[in-house]
């Protein structure tokens, strides 16, 4: 069983300062009807460079602050975040324009175990906006492709129109270095891919349980069925990582809002091994 005493990621960074550091929006990409990718540049000093799976607290002046995962690792202190408009602060963030200034603190939390996946087959499963925190993992894998065994990426979305990073998915698919599979809940005219839940695409994947590691991010129900499917096929629960979402306020293990049983999603997570969180995620109201 995994223990969180083991170093699994970069842990808490920049814990000292709770002051948001000003960053300017330098690029805005409308990914889908309700999802936007912002590239931010520090106005003067930036924050410590994040790693895949970490998040920052993004502050929209006058609206408030929310935790947002990094969706790409950029050079030169730039930050890339993909945000879904779910009202409130996220609505304000998604309405950002080039030149706007946002506050950033972080990065926070533990990232994906990319190093632990070296030498292994890797199954990446993303649902909806869950592809955003996993995108840097795919970038890392493609940058050092020979370091990994078979790599599969299964992406689920509500509809074709809500699939994130569509052009990039096509590019990855054409490179044939990653087995990219997409599946939507509801088909629309012209959609020639699969329809169903993500486990439908997992059925056809060849999986060698002993050498497989998995990274899963999406709605909690989806992560549960994916982890169940993988463990049913013999993949060790400790080899499956999920990104746990909780209401985060302070991001530095102070407020207790993000507590999942004995763990704090902001510092012990958001990426946690399945064997550690499986039983907790079935507890109602936890």
């Amino acid at each position: 069983m995994s223990t969180l005493a083991e170093p699994r990621g970069p842990g808490v960074a920049a814990r000292g300062s709770m002051t948001p550091i000003p960053h300017r929006v330098v690029d805005v990409v409308h990914e889908t009807r309700e999802t936007v990718t912002l590239t931010l540049e520090p106005v003067s000093d930036g924050i410590v460079a994040p790693v895949a799976g970490q998040f920052t607290m993004l502050w929209a002046w006058g609206a408030g602050e929310v935790p947002i995962s990094v969706s790409a690792l950029a050079a030169d202190g730039r930050l890339v975040h993909t945000i879904r408009d779910v009202a409130g602060v996220t609505k304000t963030l998604c309405a950002s324009r080039q030149g706007d200034v946002l506050g950033v603190r972080g990065p926070y939390g533990c990232g994906w175990g990319i190093d632990a996946a070296r030498g292994h087959d890797l199954v990446i499963v993303a649902g909806g906006i869950g592809l955003a925190p996993l995108r840097p993992v795919v970038h890392a894998v493609l940058a050092e492709r020979s370091e990994f065994g078979r790599v599969s990426l299964v992406v689920g979305a509500r509809t074709e129109q809500e699939l994130l990073f569509r052009a990039e998915l096509d590019e990855w698919w054409h490179r044939h270095e990653v087995d990219v599979r997409t599946i939507v809940d509801r088909s629309s005219p012209g959609w020639s891919g699969s329809v169903g839940v993500v486990t439908g695409e997992l059925v056809g994947l060849e999986i060698d349980p002993a050498s497989t590691r998995a990274m899963v991010c999406g709605p909690e129900v989806m992560m549960r069925v994916v982890a169940q499917h993988l463990t049913d096929r013999g993949v060790a629960a400790s080899a499956i990582e999920v990104s746990v979402e909780r209401n985060m306020q302070c991001a530095v293990k102070t407020c207790g809002h993000c507590q999942v049983g004995p763990f704090f999603a902001c510092t012990d997570g958001p990426v946690l091994p399945w064997d550690v969180v499986a039983s907790l995620l079935t507890v109602r109201e936890l």
């Binding site: 947002i68 995962s69 599946i183 699969s194 709605p219 999603a265």
Partner: protein, 159 residues
Amino acid sequence: MVVTTMAEELAAHRFFRTIPSDLRERLAGCARNVVFAPGERICVEGTHASGFFAIRTGRVNVGIYVPHQGLQVLETRHAGDVLGFSWLFPPYRWQIDAVAGERVRAIELHADCLLPYLEEHPAGGYLLVRMFAQEMEETIQSTRLRLLDVYGRDRVHAR
């Protein structure tokens, strides 16, 4: 060239992997290999359901034809899945339309051959019906999950 028997091909398919070899041999006698080109209709709603398919490779889009809108795809069946439950129950009529999403290789099993045998051999019949019941449960569960609209409800911030 390696020649495999139908029983071996069934044994290599996820659905039949765990059944006793004597039953598999019997099922093999009711089976044949079929290939569908992309876009080819595999079954048509309202017509006689003469058997079922064990998909070996490729994807099958399952749905219902809506006038002037074409096939409304409701789910995709993949390699390792079986396609078709209607052969088991009266009135033995397909309730769905299915079209090959890409080139599909499948094993077709014929009800005319299977049903009399299963009636006479209830142990094998019970086992097969249980296996189909499990497939149906998985299909229902997949439908439930989609009704839940998990992606639409995903009010996640930290992603």
